[in-house]
Amino acid sequence: MNDALTRPDGAARVLDAKGLPTYAFGNRSVMWWGTMGLMAIESTVFALAIVCYFYLWTRIDRWPPGVPPPALLWGTLNTLILLVSVWPNQFTKHAAERRDLRGVRIGIVVSLAFAAAFLGVRVLEFSALGCRWDTNAYGSIVWLLLGLHTTHLVTDAYDTGVLAVLMFTGPLEGRRFVDVSENAFYWNFVVASWLPIYAVLYLAPRVL
C-alpha cells in the first residue's frame, strides 16, 4: 500500500526511478489503456448501430422488407477466416512479449496474409447482401453495419502492415514490441466485434 512509499520515521524519501524498466506489456503500459479507450468508443458505436438495426425492425411488419436475408456463404466463410486469424495473431503477440524478432516477423506476415484474405472475402460479402444502401432503411442499416466493421478491418490491416515494415527495417527498440502486442490485442477486438455483427446481419433475420 502507500505506506510502502513513506518512511516510518516520516522523513522525506527519495525514490530512484533509474532502475525501473522503460516499457511494459499489457495493462501496465499506457498504450494498453489508449487501445482500451478506442475499443470502448468503437464498441459503443457498434452497439448503437445494432440498436438502430433492431429499432428499425420494430418499425415495419416484415423484416427484411422485400429482399431475402444476406446469403450465408461469404459471411460465414469470413467468420471462419477471422476466427482462424486469431491464431497467427496470438502467435505474434506472444513473440512480441518475448521480444523474439524472428517470431514477430513470421507471425506478422502470416497475419497480413489473413488480412488480405478477409478483406477479399469482405468485398464478396457486400455483393451478397442482396440489397443496396438506398433500397430502403433495412439496406441502409445493413450497409452501415458491414461498412463500419470493414473500416476496422482496413485500418487494422493497414496498421499491421506499417508495423510489419518497421519490424523488417527498424529502428527497433523495446517499446515497438509493446506496439506489436497492442496491435494484436486490437486485432482480437476486431474479430470479437464481428461475431455479434455476424449474428445480427446473417442469423437474426433467419432465426428471430
Binding site: 513513506t6 527519495v14 522503460t22 516499457y23 503500459s29 432503411a137 506499417v162
Partner: protein
C-alpha cells in the same frame, strides 16, 4: 500565503523561446506540452464563446420589440442555430477539456498528458471544425435547424443546400477531438499519477474529469453515429430517417438525446470538479465527505444515461416509458443534492475568505438551484407538455447551463489564472464582473419563465404586438446588455492583469493540490523531480509530500507510470517529443471531412493522405530512437 510576501521571479505568460521567429513558429505548431495545448483549447473556446455571445446579442436585439425587421427569418434561423451549436460544441465541452488538459497532469504530479501528440491533433481538429462551420455561416451555409438539428427538417427533403451537412460534419470534428482528449485524460488519471496518490487520494477535480471522460466515451459515439446517418441520408440516399422507406425520424431523437442528455452533465460535471478545490481552498479545510462526493459523481454519470427520453415527452412514446424517465429525472437530483450539501457543510465548518472565485461559486448555488427547480417541473410529463417548445424551457436550460457550468468556470478562471499566467486577476474588477453578471443573467432569463407560461414559442424570429410579449422581451434584452458589460469587464481584467496584475508566486491562495507546488506558470516539464504523495491534501497535510522521484531522464522527458489502484511505481515512459505531424494529420483529416460534405469519394481518396501523415507521425525518428535506446531498460 499572502501575495505580497511570496518571493518569485518575474513571470511571463509563456516560456521564452530561443531562436528566430521562424523556429519559434515551428515550435509553437509542433508543441506537445499539455499546458500550451490546454491553454489553446481554453482561449479558443472563449473566442468561440465571444462569437456565440455576439450571435445571442443579435437574437436579443431582434426580439427586443415586436415586429422587428432587424433580421429576416432565414438569417435568424442561422443565427440562433449557430448560437446553440457554438455554445454546446465549440465552447462548453472544449473549454472544460482544455481545463482538464492543463490541470490534470499537474494535479496528479506528472510531466505531461498521456498522449500529448493526440492532444495536439485533437486541438487542431477542434480549431478546424470551428473555422469550418463559421466559414459556412459567413458564406450563408450556416446551420439553420437548431442545435439538435431534428429530422425531417434537417433531412434531404426539407434541409436546403449544404447547411445541415455543415452542422453534421462539425459534429464529427468536435467529437473526434473530445473523444481523443477523453482517452488521454483517463489514461493520465489511471496510469501517470505520482507515486502514493492511491485512488482515494485523487483530487476531486481529477475525479470529476475522469468520470466526465468516461461519459464522453459512451455518449459521444451516439451523436457521431446519428450525424453520420444524417449525412448518408443527405449524400448517398440512405433512408435511416425516411418513414416512407422504413426509416424513422424518431430514431434521430433517440440517438441525439442519448448523447444530448449526458452532454448536459458532461458540461456540468467538470464544473462540479472546479467547485471543490475552490470551496476547500477558501474554507481552509478539505471538502466534507470525500467518498460521498466521488460516489455522487459516479452515480450522476450513470443516471445521466437514463434521462434522454425526457426530451421527448411530446412524442409518441409509451406512457410507461415516460413514467420511467420521469422517475430517473427526479432521481438524479439526489447525487447532485449530496454534493451541494457536502459543499455547504464545508463552507459552514470552514474559515471562509470571500474572494472572487468563491463569489462565482456562491452564484452557482443560487442560479443552478433556480434552474434545478424548473428542471423538476419539466421532468413531469403534464407540465412538460404544457411548456414544451416555449421560452420556459429556454429559461430553464440557460439557468442550468450558466449557473451549473459558466459560473464555476469563471470562478475557476479567477482561481487558476495566477497559476497559468503568474499574475493575479484584479479582485476589484472581479467583484464588479460577478455582480453585473449575476444581475444580467437574472434580468435576461428570469422573464423568460413568464414569457413561456404566456405561450411564447422558442425559435420564432418575431411576434405580433398584440401577444403582449413585448415588455418582458425588452427587459430580457436589457439584461443581455448588462451581461455584455460584465463580460467586457472580464476581458479588461484579463488583458490588464496579464501585464499589470499582482505577481502570484507558486501558491497565492494557499491551496492544497499539487499544481500549486510548482512555479507559476509551471515549467516544462512540470516537475523536475515528481513528488511522492503522502496524503489527500498534499500541500496541507503533514507529510503530504513524502519525498521526490529521482532518476527520470530529461532527454527525452520521461514520466513515471504507476499502478492503477495504489499508484506504486511501475516503469518509466519516454514521453512523445514535439512534431508537426499531428498538425499535418489534422489538416489531411480536415480535407477528408470537408470533402465528404460534397462527395462520398472524399472518404476514399482523403484517407490516403490521412494514412500517410499518421504513419509518418508514428514512425520513429532516428535521433529520438537514439535518445531512448541510450536509457532503455527491459522489464
Amino acid at each position: 500565503m499572502s501575495v505580497a510576501t511570496t518571493a518569485v521571479t518575474p513571470p511571463s505568460a509563456h516560456e521564452p523561446e530561443r531562436g528566430h521567429a521562424g523556429a519559434r513558429i515551428v515550435n509553437a505548431l509542433a508543441t506537445v506540452d499539455h499546458k500550451r495545448i490546454g491553454l489553446r483549447f481554453i482561449v479558443t473556446a472563449f473566442a468561440f464563446a465571444l462569437a456565440g455571445g455576439v450571435l445571442s446579442g443579435l437574437v436579443r436585439h431582434q426580439l427586443a420589440a415586436p415586429q422587428s425587421t432587424f433580421l429576416g427569418p432565414d438569417a435568424y434561423d442561422q443565427i440562433f442555430s449557430m448560437h446553440g451549436t457554438t455554445m454546446m460544441f465549440l465552447f462548453a465541452v472544449p473549454v472544460m477539456q482544455g481545463m482538464a488538459l492543463y490541470l490534470v497532469p499537474l494535479m496528479v504530479g506528472t510531466r505531461n498528458i498521456a498522449f500529448p501528440r493526440m492532444a495536439a491533433y485533437a486541438y487542431w481538429m477542434y480549431l478546424a471544425g470551428g473555422i469550418f462551420v463559421y466559414a459556412g455561416l459567413l458564406l450563408n451555409i450556416g446551420p439553420d435547424v437548431g442545435w439538435f438539428s431534428y429530422v425531417p427538417l434537417a433531412g434531404p427533403q426539407y434541409g436546403v443546400g449544404k447547411r445541415s451537412d455543415f452542422w453534421a460534419q462539425l459534429i464529427t470534428f468536435t467529437e473526434v477531438s473530445s473523444l481523443l482528449i477523453a482517452i488521454s485524460v483517463i489514461t493520465t488519471a489511471f496510469k501517470l499519477r505520482a507515486p502514493g496518490m492511491s485512488l482515494d487520494r485523487i483530487p476531486l477535480f481529477v475525479w470529476a474529469m475522469l468520470v466526465t471522460s468516461f461519459m464522453i466515451v459512451f455518449a459521444m459515439p451516439a451523436v457521431m453515429l446519428a450525424s453520420t446517418e444524417l449525412l448518408l441520408d443527405r449524400l448517398v440516399g440512405t433512408h435511416f430517417f425516411n418513414p416512407s422507406e422504413g426509416g424513422d425520424p424518431l430514431l434521430w431523437q433517440h440517438l441525439f438525446w442519448f448523447f444530448g442528455h449526458p452532454e448536459v452533465y458532461l458540461i456540468f460535471m467538470p464544473a462540479l470538479g472546479m467547485m471543490s478545490p475552490i470551496i476547500a481552498t477558501f474554507s481552509r479545510r478539505p471538502v466534507v465527505g470525500y467518498p460521498a462526493m466521488v460516489l455522487s459523481l459516479i452515480a450522476t454519470a450513470f443516471l445521466s444515461f437514463a434521462l434522454w427520453v425526457h426530451h421527448m415527452f411530446a412524442t409518441a412514446i409509451p406512457e410507461l416509458g415516460k413514467t420511467f424517465f420521469t422517475a430517473a429525472s427526479m432521481m438524479i437530483a439526489i447525487p447532485s443534492a449530496v454534493q451541494i450539501f457536502c459543499w455547504i457543510a464545508t463552507l459552514w465548518t470552514g474559515r471562509v475568505r470571500l474572494t472572487t472565485p468563491l463569489l462565482f461559486v456562491l452564484g452557482f448555488f443560487v442560479i443552478l438551484t433556480l434552474g434545478g427547480m424548473t428542471g423538476i417541473m419539466v421532468a413531469s410529463v403534464p407540465l412538460d407538455l404544457q411548456v414544451h417548445d416555449t421560452y420556459f424551457v429556454v429559461a430553464h436550460l440557460h439557468y442550468v447551463l450558466i449557473g451549473g457550468a459558466v459560473f464555476p468556470l469563471l470562478g475557476a478562471v479567477y482561481f487558476w489564472f495566477p497559476k497559468i499566467t503568474g499574475r493575479l486577476l484584479s479582485e476589484r474588477l472581479g467583484r464588479w464582473h460577478f455582480a453585473l453578471l449575476f444581475v444580467g443573467i437574472n434580468v435576461t432569463f428570469f422573464p423568460m419563465h413568464q414569457l413561456g407560461l404566456d405561450g411564447m414559442p422558442r425559435r420564432i424570429y418575431t411576434y405580433a404586438a398584440e401577444t403582449g410579449w413585448g415588455p418582458l422581451n425588452f427587459v430580457a434584452s436589457v439584461g443581455d446588455m448588462i451581461t455584455d458589460v460584465a463580460m467586457l469587464l472580464f476581458a479588461v481584467n484579463v488583458v490588464r492583469s496579464l501585464w499589470r496584475g499582482a505577481v502570484a508566486g507558486p501558491n497565492p491562495w494557499d491551496a492544497a493540490t499539487l499544481e500549486w507546488a510548482v512555479a507559476s506558470p509551471p515549467p516544462s516539464p512540470n516537475f523536475d523531480e515528481p513528488p511522492i504523495v503522502g496524503g489527500r491534501e498534499p500541500l496541507w497535510d503533514a507529510g503530504g509530500i513524502a519525498g521526490r522521484v529521482r532518476g527520470l531522464a530529461h532527454e527525452p522527458p520521461e514520466a513515471l507510470v504507476t499502478t492503477v489502484v495504489d499508484a506504486l511505481p511501475d516503469h518509466r515512459y519516454a514521453l512523445p517529443q514535439p512534431t508537426l505531424w499531428p498538425l499535418v494529420s489534422a489538416l489531411a483529416t480536415t480535407a477528408l471531412f470537408v470533402g465528404s460534405v460534397f462527395t462520398p469519394w472524399a472518404v476514399v481518396w482523403g484517407a490516403v493522405p490521412v494514412g500517410a501523415a499518421m504513419t509518418r507521425w508514428f514512425w520513429p525518428r532516428r535521433w529520438e530512437y537514439r535518445q531512448r535506446i541510450a536509457v532503455e531498460r527491459s522489464p
